[in-house]
Each structure stands twice: as structure tokens, then as C-alpha cells.
């Protein structure tokens, strides 16, 4: 019953999408300047159908309708309601339906906002976006149908993987999707801009807000994912340079570059081609990322039920998308002529783009290189953190400096005469670095330089902001927040990187072990019964002899029933200065427990700074001039 209704809605959506494509095409050919009313109605039906189908799937998960395979495989009656809902996008089929939903919502809203703007531009955007929607709808129905039936109907579901049963992870996919699926709309708009020959400035102002929205959500999605990895995976780190993390980072670099260069286009009508290219590759990189994750050609913590047919479909779709966007783009025979003054806002923004492209190339090569070596040489290699850290870290330094000076430079041309304050701030940053250095003791030259340049960025931004706020104009607030946030982020990541401590030991109940100044006492073990799992809770007492404090930490080993899984929950005590992080795991056939105790300085600041950076984008979206 539910399955039939769901399938009806999906087929209905396909039919409507086809009609939109047809009518939009007809409408473009007609001479009148009006957009036909029926396209608005059709779009409205489309969004209604697709959202209803999504709600229907949520309904099926909430009421545990196991006649659907997707529900049977990913849910269980004994699950808390929150995780029943999160289960909707915790699997390939449901997440793809969410994907299509976001594409349709963005399409509808973009159409609504630009309805009166320029007929052929709006229609072409609608047309291209609906071709993309059609592609994903066909994919959804042909081999990832969330409304697929199972007979006989099972009485109980298999349950959601316990490590996915987590609040941060429940919101991580929707946030990330709003980011990189959202980028589809400016892909379509870029195609439309070329086809309808629209003026660059107008194109820039019509996509600007969408770029900002997707950038903000992409950032939030990445942050929430890192937070989850930090406390759930029990490893103590928050960024692994895992291929799938990289897959979310690559579109983020494009979006960051785009969010900046679109300003140049809007203001100066420069870089039109470049903005078009960025708009196109943002979505292409999003789909490429999806391909890498869903096809299973990369191994990582994000495993979906892999099926080569899916990989094949996405890859064909991706190839077609790249092919047609290239053809359309190369047909455009207009070349940008521009002259940029070395000291102007345009130049600085362009320098941001160069940095972004450098990071993008690094991460892209690191991510796909192992695939290439495997296919071409049959050699397995893995590209790990040392590669990324050593290539990316040094280039952070000039990036931070440019980021500090850029926002204050004026458009077009400026005689730069602010050397005095720059040198003052530089001296101040060096002095502060010296203080930090003498407080913490040694770290290497590179860390010194990064700390100095991030302090430079922070102080410079604050100074600019204070001077600016005298004029009572708060238009610069978002970029101030993002830039300062990024400076703080880099500062604390480097400090954290240098001063994290890790102790690894095997210990029995009742034992006390002492390493350096830390005394770790394993007091007792308790077994506790919780709502949907049993837990073995360890009680550890950590005493720092030198600093004279003590903390209790209670890590858990959880035993879930459906599906039967063991998970290891870390115990974390957070304060402004540092996190104490402890995980324990049992060792088969012995009384010993393997305990990993870590001291991670400034974790709270890292999260705070990351949110601050993302908040700038959101604020700019809603802040009017």
C-alpha cells in the first residue's frame, strides 16, 4: 500500500519533470516575454509530489513498515523515534531521495526568486536543473528505489548501525546535502547564463545568495561530521584525510573560491568565464565525490551497500554532465578582457582563488591517486596525513597573510600606505608567538610561522573591524567573522597538533599505572542496561600529580542487539583549556583492558572557531546592504 503510493509519487514526479522540460523548452522558443503560468503550477506540483514522497518514507520508518526493504534493512521497532527518522537518510536509497528533494526545492525557490528577472535565463535554468533532476529520479527508480517491497513482510527490521545512532550524525547528511546538492542550482544557472547570453553582473547577483547558502551548509556539514568522528570513532582526531572527507572538502574549496570571485563579477564585471567554470566544477566535483563514495572504489569509514551498477550509472551520468557542460562552455566565444591593479580587492580575491585551486589540486590528487595506481600499475598505495600536512601546511602561511590584508583593500585601485600598522601587527604577533612558545616549550619552525600568521590575521581583522564600526556600517561583519574564525581555527589546530599527548597502556581492574606525571587508576567496571543496548562502563580516575587535579572518566563498551554490534564509546571531559579523552577496549582472553588516554588541548576552541567561520556565510545570506 505504502509502497504503491510511494511509487506513484515517484513516477508522478518523473512525469511532471518531463513536462517541465518540455514546456520550458517550448516557452523558450516563443517570442513573448512572459513565462507561462503553467510552468509555475508544474513546479509547484513537482515540489509537492517529491516532498510528499519523502514524508511518506519518514512515515514508513517511524511506524516501522517492514514491507519496504529500505525500512527493513535500516530500522527496528525498538529504536528511539529520533533514530528511526535519522535512519531515513542513513542508507543509500533514502539519502538519494533526500538528494532529489533538495534539488527540487532549490529549483523551485530559484525559479520563484528569478521569475520576473529574465525570461530565457530563468527558463534555461529550470530546464537544465530539471534534466539533472530527471537523471537522479531515473537512478532512484531504476536501482535505488526506497519504496521497493519485500515479501513476505518481515516482523522485525535489521536495525540501524549503532555508530550511526548519534545526534551529530543524524543531522550531518542533510546539512552536507544542502551544501553540495545545493550547488546544482548554480551549475544549472551557469549553463543558462551561457545559453541565454546574460550579462555577467546579473548572473553574479542572481547566484550569489545560493553560493553562500550552499557554502554555509557545506561548512556546517563538514564540522558536524568532524565532531562526530572525534567523539565516536575513539581515535581522538577530528580529521583523517579520509577519501570521503576529502570528497566533501573538494566542493568546499570550489564554493569558497566561487563565493569570493562572484563578488568581483558582481562589482566589476570581471572574471565571468572563471565564475562560470567554478560554478560548473563545484557541482561536477560534488557528483564525482558521490560517485567515489557510492561506487565503493574507495575504501573508507563511510561504507554504503556497494553495487557496481550504481557506480556505473553515476559515472555515465557524470560523464554526460561533464561532456555537455564542456560543449556548452566552449561554445561561448567570449573572452574576458580585464586589467587588474596589483593592489586592489580584485587581485586579493583572485589570490584566494589561486590558493583554493592549489588546495583543491592537492586533495584531489591525494584522493584519486591510489585509484590510478591500482588500475594502471596494480599497486596499492595509500596517501595519508603526512602528504597532506606537508604539502598544505606551508602554503597556509601566505594564505593567512593575504586573508588578513585583503578585506580592507579597496576596489579598482589603491595606493597601499598601511605598512606601519602591518609591521606593528606583525611585531605584536611575533611577540605573542614568543609568549606561547615560552609557555609551551618548543615546536618547529613551520608551526611558529603558522601561529604568527594566524595571529596576524586575527589581530588585523579585529583592528579593521573596530575602525570600520566607527562608521556604523556592519556590512563587513560576515567577512570579519569568517576570516577571524578561520585564523582562530588555524591557531588552535596547530597548538592542538603540537601539544596533544597520548598514552597507550594495558591495565586490569584495580590497577594503577603512572606515566610521566599522570596517574591512571582503573577503579571498577559496571554493567548497565540502557534503552537499546547494554553497556560495560569503566570507571577511571586520572590524577595529574604536577598540576594537582583529578578527574573521573567513564568510557563504555556498548553491546547492541539489533544488529549485534560492539561499539567503544570514548569518555571525554571538556573544558576551555583541554579535553581529556579516554577509550578502553577489552582484550580477548585476558583480564587486561587496552586503554588509550589522550590530552587534547583547545578542542572546544577548534569547534567554536569552525562554527564562527561558517556563521559568516549564513549571516551574509540574510544581511541586507
Amino acid at each position: 500500500m505504502l509502497s504503491n503510493l510511494g511509487n506513484f509519487l515517484l513516477f508522478g514526479s518523473i512525469f511532471i519533470t518531463l513536462s517541465i522540460i518540455y514546456f520550458a523548452y517550448q516557452n523558450i522558443k516563443e517570442k513573448n516575454i512572459q513565462i507561462e503560468k503553467n510552468l509555475v503550477y508544474l513546479s509547484f506540483f513537482q515540489i509537492t509530489f517529491i516532498i510528499t514522497s519523502f514524508l511518506l518514507l519518514i512515515f514508513a520508518f517511524v511506524f516501522s513498515d517492514f514491507s519496504l526493504i529500505a525500512v527493513y534493512q535500516n530500522s527496528h521497532t525498538a529504536k528511539p523515534i529520533f533514530y528511526k527518522i535519522a535512519g531515513v537518510w542513513g542508507n543509500h536509497e533514502g539519502s538519494l531521495l533526500l538528494w532529489v528533494n533538495i534539488m527540487v526545492i532549490f529549483s523551485f525557490l530559484f525559479f520563484l526568486f528569478n521569475y520576473k528577472f529574465n525570461k530565457s535565463y530563468s527558463l534555461y535554468t529550470l530546464l537544465v536543473q530539471n534534466i539533472l533532476i530527471l537523471g537522479f529520479l531515473v537512478f532512484l527508480i531504476s536501482n535505488s528505489n526506497p519504496f521497493f517491497k519485500i515479501l513476505p513482510i518481515p516482523l522485525e527490521g535489521l536495525g540501524l548501525n549503532p555508530i550511526l545512532q548519534d545526534p551529530a550524525l543524524a543531522i550531518h547528511p542533510p546539512l552536507l546535502y544542502l551544501g553540495f546538492v545545493g550547488s546544482s542550482i548554480y551549475f544549472s544557472a551557469a549553463m543558462a547564463a551561457i545559453l541565454s547570453n546574460i550579462y555577467g553582473k546579473n548572473f553574479a547577483s542572481s547566484i550569489k545568495v545560493w553560493v553562500l547558502i550552499s557554502w554555509s551548509f557545506q561548512s556546517l556539514g563538514i564540522i558536524v561530521g568532524s565532531i562526530w568522528a572525534y567523539y565516536e570513532l575513539g581515535w581522538g582526531g577530528f580529521w583523517f584525510w579520509d577519501p570521503v572527507e576529502n570528497a566533501s572538502l573538494i566542493p568546499w574549496f570550489c564554493m569558497t573560491a566561487l563565493a569570493h570571485s562572484v563578488l568581483v563579477l558582481e562589482k566589476r564585471n570581471y572574471l565571468y568565464n572563471w565564475v562560470l567554470i567554478l560554478s560548473i566544477i563545484t557541482f561536477i566535483s560534488s557528483v564525482t565525490g558521490t560517485f567515489l563514495v557510492r561506487s565503493g572504489i574507495l575504501n573508507s569509514v563511510h561504507t554504503f551497500a556497494n553495487d557496481p551498477a550504481r557506480g556505473m550509472y553515476i559515472l555515465i551520468f557524470l560523464s554526460l554532465m561533464i561532456f555537455f557542460s564542456f560543449v556548452i562552455f566552449f561554445k561561448r566565444k567570449i573572452y574576458d578582457n580585464f586589467y587588474l591593479e596589483p593592489v586592489s580587492k580584485e587581485t586579493f580575491i583572485l589570490s584566494n582563488n589561486w590558493f583554493m585551486m592549489f588546495y583543491l589540486a592537492t586533495v584531489l590528487i591525494g584522493t584519486i591517486y591510489p585509484i590510478f595506481t591500482q588500475v594502471l600499475y596494480d599497486t596499492k598505495i595509500s596517501v595519508g596525513p603526512p602528504f597532506y600536512n606537508s604539502v598544505i601546511a606551508p602554503i597556509i602561511i601566505p594564505f593567512l597573510i593575504m586573508m588578513a590584508i585583503g578585506p580592507k583593500i579597496r576596489w579598482i585601485k589603491q595606493k597601499y600606505n598601511d605598512f606601519k600598522s602591518v609591521i606593528l601587527i606583525l611585531i605584536l604577533s611575533c611577540a605573542m608567538n614568543f609568549l606561547i612558545f615560552s609557555f609551551f616549550k618548543s615546536y618547529d619552525l613551520l608551526s611558529n610561522l603558522i601561529i604568527i600568521s594566524s595571529l596576524f590575521l586575527i589581530i588585523h581583522s579585529i583592528k579593521d573591524f573596530i575602525i570600520n564600526s566607527k562608521t556604523k556600517s556592519y556590512y563587513n561583519l560576515p567577512s570579519f567573522l569568517s576570516h577571524t574564525g578561520f585564523g582562530i581555527l588555524m591557531l588552535f589546530i596547530i597548538l592542538n597538533h603540537n601539544f596533544s599527548k597520548e598514552y597507550d597502556l594495558n591495565i586490569k581492574v584495580g590497577e594503577t599505572k603512572k606515566i610521566d606525571n599522570i596517574e591512571i587508576k582503573f577503579q571498577d567496571l559496571k554493567i548497565k542496561k540502557r534503552e537499546n543496548y547494554n553497556a560495560i562502563v569503566g570507571n577511571f580516575n586520572i590524577i595529574d600529580i604536577k598540576k594537582n587535579y583529578q578527574r573521573n572518566l567513564n568510557p563504555e563498551i556498548r553491546i547492541y542487539d539489533n544488529p549485534q554490534t560492539l561499539t567503544f564509546e570514548s569518555a571525554i571531559k571538556t573544558n576551555l583549556k583541554q579535553d581529556l579523552y579516554l577509550t578502553m577496549s577489552n582484550i580477548d582472553g585476558s583480564d587486561f583492558y587496552n586503554v588509550k588516554f589522550q590530552i587534547k588541548p583547545f578542542m572546544l576552541w577548534i569547534w567554536f572557531a569552525a562554527f564562527l567561520t561558517a556563521s559568516g556565510g549564513l549571516l551574509r545570506t540574510f544581511l541586507k546592504k
Partner: protein, 174 residues
Amino acid sequence: MKISFLKIISISLVAFAIIVFFLALNVDKRYSTEKIVGKSVDNFEILFLNNDEMFKKQDLTNDKYHLINIWASWCLPCKKEHPILMNLKKENNLKIVGINFKDKKLNANNFLRELGNPYDFSLSDKDGTKSILFGVYGVPESILIDNNHKIISKFIGPLNFKDYEDILQLLNEK
């Protein structure tokens, strides 16, 4: 028509990437442990534990069987299987390759000094990336390779007496 250099470069790069992706779809994923048995060993290069030289696939000589044992000083079950490795050391047609997994060099050498060194070759996989090649889930694990570089058996967890007998039987079949 003017053919732009940039166009050709970008198109061919993208086309190349897509072709590789297509090929990659058909490469079977040998990370799973069941599949690894029966396959021949991929090329590898792993650093020695106590010097800076590399041990390569070619160093697995053709006249002997090899047992690759993945271990760490912090791993208690590795202590448990240690006597069995010491016994296997006595076999003439078997060479034992120990890969020290995510460990400190000092601790590893102390471990071998205390309990005896069963390994003909001691290698080091400091960050755990090289052992992926052998489909390793955790430590200890052991992989038996025949004289044609084919993986003939895999032991997850500490070797016990039964595994010991199995290995002897496999060696004598030769």
C-alpha cells in the same frame, strides 16, 4: 577552427580520469579477507625494523614458504602466540616475516629480546598502511604464502596449536 591547447589538455585529462574510473569499477576489491586466500601477493615494499632498507616482494625466495606475521609489542595475544612462532622457526622450508604494526621501535626490540626472535626478517609498518595489503583487520594475524607467492592460508587472531599443526601439514604437502 582554432584548436586551443588548453581545451585539448583539459578534455584529455578529464577523459583520462573518467576512463580510469570506469576501469576501477571493475577492479575487484581485495581488502576483504576471504578473497585474499588463493591470490598471489601484490607488489610491496616494506621498511626493515632496524635499518632503512626495503623488503620487497622479490625478496620472498622461490624455494621456501613464507609466513607473514603481523604483531605489536602492545598486543597481548601476540605474546600468547609467540611460543608457536618460536617452534615454527625450527622448520627448514619456512621463513617467517614479522611485520611490526603501529609500534615503537624500542618496545618492539625489547619484546624480541625478552621473548626471543622468531623472525627471519623483521619489518616495520609504523602507521599501519602497509598491512592493508594483506587484508589485515588487527593484530595478530598471519598469512601463509607458498613458493609461488600465492597466499594459501590466513590466520586471524593468535596462532594456536591447531593452526600450528595446519601449517606443518601445508608445509609437508609441498
